[in-house]
């Protein structure tokens, strides 16, 4: 599903963020990526959405080498990948329905498709009774579930979650984690970057530890949060 082969990345100021990392992620895996701040975890996720390009090496997603796709094909790649962030990235002026519908409008979906799909995906994340609520009317956990709903609307093959519980309390954090695990059970590959040790240990799946741009540990099964 995802192959990262000997990838190095530097930002414009030539500071190397990733140094010759290689990582393979199979279809349907749940992978937690842990490490101290500045290890390169978020940079790794940006490579998968082609927000950044590696200075060396190859990134292959679903059989496609990301270096070979044109800028016109990048949106098509991103529709296969749902993204969830610590700060939710919701539009404050749109309600829950409109926030999810927005993701369909910008890909040219018809009104009927939007009316059909959006309520379904809001039901999956348990927000069917909050369809008209604006983000400021939702709790932290509800906001993140709304963000997950938007990430799911294109039926992506992969979900990337960058610190999805960073702004949430313990209860909401576990709710979000349960939702991500449920999505993974349905066949979607989930890659979660997190500092939350308890969450990682609760998941008990593959854990990749990064440090200073390198992968220092890869616990393929029953991984634990070790730094």
């Amino acid at each position: 599903m995802i192959e990262i082969k000997n990838v190095s990345t530097a930002y414009d100021n030539d500071i190397e963020v990733l140094d010759k990392i290689s990582l393979d992620i199979k279809d349907g895996e749940f992978v937690s990526i842990v490490g101290p701040a500045g290890a390169g975890k978020s940079t790794l996720l940006k490579l998968l959405t082609r927000e950044l390009r590696p200075t060396n090496g190859e990134v292959v997603v679903d059989g496609v080498n990301l270096a070979e796709i044109s800028s016109r094909e990048v949106p098509l790649l991103r529709r296969k990948i749902g993204t969830v962030f610590q700060d939710f990235k919701l539009l404050a002026s749109k309600n829950a329905f409109e926030n999810v519908a927005f993701a369909l409008e910008v890909v040219g979906a018809t009104g009927d498709e939007i009316d059909n799909d959006v309520p379904k995906v809001l039901a999956i994340v348990g927000l069917n009774d909050k369809i008209d609520s604006f983000p400021h009317q939702l709790s932290g956990g509800e906001k993140q579930r709304l963000a997950i709903a938007r990430a799911l609307i294109h039926r992506p093959r992969i979900i990337l979650a960058d610190e999805p519980t960073g702004n949430l309390d313990l209860v909401n954090s576990y709710d979000v984690l349960k939702l991500l695990m449920k999505i993974n059970e349905l066949g979607t590959t989930v890659i979660m970057v997190t500092h939350n040790r308890d969450l990682v240990n609760t998941v008990g799946r593959r854990v990749v530890t990064m440090e200073k741009g390198h992968i220092v540990r890869d616990q393929v099964e029953s991984g634990k949060y070790i730094i």
């Binding site: 990235k89 890909v107 040219g108």
Partner: protein
């Protein structure tokens, strides 16, 4: 699906356009000014071209014969001139006809009529009036007439004074045209900068929406085109205001211009070609707007 997409893109562009009224007024105002200068330049070109053409029509070569010239010599010279390359027509005015014309022109002048009565005979000369197909050919025609075998019967060939006047007017006209063009280019550059800045502001204010659009795989069309629509709207509205100002102004100014320069109907020209100018103005405005947006998008939105 395409209709829906286009509707959404247009709606977003329209919302961007009307969101910040002060900025919209400023941007549209600058573009209106550019289009007004552009239309004024066209008016100026029309006026100067009309004058130059009218004067060029007046350019001709008049060949005055000595009073002693024989009729056969005049006829031969006329026939020779008609054969010169570039000659359109040769009109003959006999001495008697010249006197008749002179009397008619000065019928109201008692002094001139008394003077004529005092003179014995007809003091006026026969003449040939030569018109060319193109004003650039007069010089060669005049040279050919100078070389005619009966040149001794010719008193004078009146051409060069007229030519100097025409050349001076053409120089002034070209000068005005060049300055007008430079002003239009400079103002267009300013309009592009102002619109570019406005679109940049919109992009900055919508950073979050753009970011999310990119994240969820929004097509390049959906991300970029609303800003092109916004730019086009600035241009279209500027075109509308420019036409609303220009046509009434031209209606008012045209009679005054005609008083100074008879035969120049500026408003008539713009009225007769109204559809062409309306389309041209809207096209110029929207092209300026779209171009400004295009460079703002290339600079500030990376997919």
């Amino acid at each position: 699906m395409w209709r829906q997409t286009f509707k959404r893109i247009f709606r977003t562009g329209w919302n961007n356009f009307k969101r910040n009224s002060y900025v919209t007024v400023g941007t549209t105002g600058v573009m209106t000014l550019v289009l007004l200068v552009f239309l004024s330049l066209i008016a100026l070109n029309f006026i100067s071209d009309t004058i130059v053409t009218a004067l060029q029509e007046k350019v001709d070569i008049t060949v005055y014969f000595k009073t002693t010239a024989a009729e056969e010599e005049v006829t031969t010279i006329r026939s020779d001139i008609e054969k010169i390359f570039g000659v359109r027509s040769v009109g003959y005015v006999s001495r008697d006809q010249a006197l008749e014309d002179f009397k008619k022109r000065h019928a109201g002048s008692a002094l001139i009529n008394e003077s004529l009565a005092e003179l014995e005979g007809n003091p006026l000369q026969a003449s040939l009036n030569v018109k060319a197909n193109d004003t650039s050919q007069y010089s060669a025609i005049a040279t050919a007439i100078e070389g005619n075998k009966f040149r001794s019967s010719i008193d004078k060939i009146n051409f060069y004074e007229n030519e100097q006047v025409i050349q001076r007017i053409e120089r002034i006209s070209n000068g005005l045209r060049n300055w007008g063009l430079i002003s239009t280019v400079v103002l267009s550059f300013i309009a592009v900068l102002v619109t570019f800045n406005t679109i940049r502001l919109t992009i900055y204010n919508q950073k979050q929406e753009i970011e999310i659009m990119k994240l969820v795989g929004g097509s390049n069309r959906h991300v970029r085109f609303p800003y092109l629509v916004e730019g086009a709207l600035y241009g279209l509205f500027a075109g509308l205001f420019a036409l609303m100002i220009f046509y009434p102004a031209m209606l008012y100014a045209s009679p005054k211009i005609a008083r100074l320069m008879p035969g120049v109907d500026t408003f008539g020209y713009f009225k007769h070609n109204a559809w062409e100018f309306i389309i041209l103005t809207f096209a110029a405005g929207s092209m300026l707007g779209v171009f400004s947006s295009f460079i703002a998008i290339r600079r500030f939105i990376k997919i």
